[in-house]
Amino acid sequence: AVIEHHAPYWEQPFSQPYFDNSTRREMTTTVGQSAYLHCRVRNLGDRAVSWIRKRDLHILTVGILTYTNDQRFQSLHSDGSDEWTLKVSSPQVRDSGTYECQVSTEPKISQAFRLNVVVSKAKILGNPELYIKSGSDINLTCVVMQTPEPPSFIYWYQGAHVINYSQRGGINVVTEKQTRTSRLLISRALPQDSGNYTCSPSSSDSASVMVHVLN
């Protein structure tokens, strides 16, 4: 027979809610890229988890319900889980600030999360205007700045059109997500290769250089 030993009730710890401190408290995202703030609460019991914006004390969500009428804020929670996630869709720079995950105990317990929404920029190394002799190579290197995540793609444009590799031979594009760079190489440039070249990464502002191919 198994004899179970139960601690008397006065020796059992009170089941007060507490936070799981392993979640990230500081998030950086680029404009337009959805942000997720993860708040994990153990021993929640019958208390509610709410999200508020500290700047103006605006209540965003309570439990799984959304109080704010700003549709970009949403509470994500699956039944029985400890996680109460605030999703901020299409974040703007003005959404940067501190958000608080709050539990309705008396007194309340809370955890602050910092959200940074940044404008990511591309930069083409070298001069903004290039003069190249006909027959030389055009070599442009584009770096994506201030992006927390590598861009999912980087497009190159000549004027208003995406560069078509098959249109003309001798075009080589090497994009490295890890270093957030893309290199455009056009061999043996001709006067008709002159124009405004633009590097346009996903979720970043683009950068341009003016290329003049001289006879």
Binding site: S50, D56, L57, I59, V62, Y67, D70, T105, E106, K108
Partner: protein
């Protein structure tokens, strides 16, 4: 789109009572009103739901127009700003202040207890009180007697928690009331006795008294002493005059003052001569002489 009908009125409430803050909203429609505590950034209620587990908080409304935040059994920690919020986009909010007041209470320490001091020394009476707003302290004498000031002037009351008396004298002896008030009833007071010790002093109006033989005569002395003195009469050689027979000493005392009378029912030839009235207490003794001489018939 909803808007606020009027600002939130600030509320002042004594501790332990119920406070109600009212937020008036026009055209609420399907929007929701929430109450928050500003200083702690705590969500209290949303629509008709109480979110916080603070069981003293309640919410009610009339016609979805006036939204009441109720705080039962108010505590000092509830003092502060409260926000009424509507979930419009952008959000609208306004705030109101809850002032919690506390009636005065006099602290046993460091408030003075009964004081016993020697005449001529300096004495400080202290009175400490709690309450909100901070109570002001007034000192008065029991029975409305005046308080002698050092410069020979008098006053009926002294303000402030510390009451200094320099060179205390017997006229300061008595009961003082420390009264604490802050506008929140009830005002409270504490009675502090000030006891002044001094050695006996004797004052005689007539030190030379004449009498016919057979006449009834009364000799009188005034003494002042505290602690209370023992008072008696003696003849020239120091023999104490006992009660009874032809002598009748009478003591009339009032606080630290004693009026001594010695009545001789029928003055005889041996009664002429010197008498002494004596006053003694723990701090010393003193006496005064009266000479009774014979007036020929």
């Amino acid at each position: 789109v909803p808007k606020f009908g009027q600002p939130i009125n600030n509320v002042t409430i004594p501790v332990a009572r119920e406070a109600t803050l009212a937020c008036v909203v026009e055209d609420l429609a399907t929007y929701k009103v929430a109450w928050l505590r500003v200083d702690t950034q705590t969500i209290l209620t949303i629509a008709t739901h109480v979110i916080t587990k603070n069981h003293r908080i309640g919410v009610s409304h009339s016609d979805h127009r006036t939204w009441y935040l109720q705080i039962r059994d108010v505590r000092e920690s509830d003092r502060g700003w409260y926000m009424c919020q509507i979930n419009t986009d952008p959000m609208k909010s306004q705030v109101g202040y809850l002032e919690v007041v506390v009636p005065p209470d006099i602290l046993d320490y460091p408030t003075s207890t009964d004081m016993v001091v020697r005449e001529g020394t300096n004495v400080t009476l202290r009175c400490a009180a709690t309450g909100s707003p901070q109570p002001s302290i007034t000192w008065r004498r029991e029975g409305g007697e005046s308080i002698p000031l050092g410069n020979g002037q008098e006053t009926t009351s002294v303000e402030g928690p510390v009451f200094n008396i320099t060179r205390v004298n017997r006229l300061h002896m008595g009961a003082y009331l420390c009264i604490a008030s802050n506008g929140v009833p009830p005002t409270v007071s504490k009675r502090i006795m000030l006891i002044v010790h001094f050695p006996p002093m004797i004052w005689i109006q007539n030190q030379l008294v004449g009498a016919h033989e057979g006449q009834q005569m009364t000799l009188e002395c005034n003494s002042e002493a505290y602690p209370k003195s023992i008072n008696y009469w003696t003849r020239e050689k120091g023999e104490i005059i006992a009660q009874g027979g032809k002598y009748e000493p009478v003591l009339l005392d009032n606080a630290y003052k004693v009026h001594m009378k010695l009545t001789i029912r029928s003055v005889g030839p041996t009664d002429f001569g010197s008498y002494k009235c004596v006053s003694k207490n723990s701090l010393g003794d003193t006496d005064g002489s009266i000479k009774l001489y014979r007036i020929p018939q």
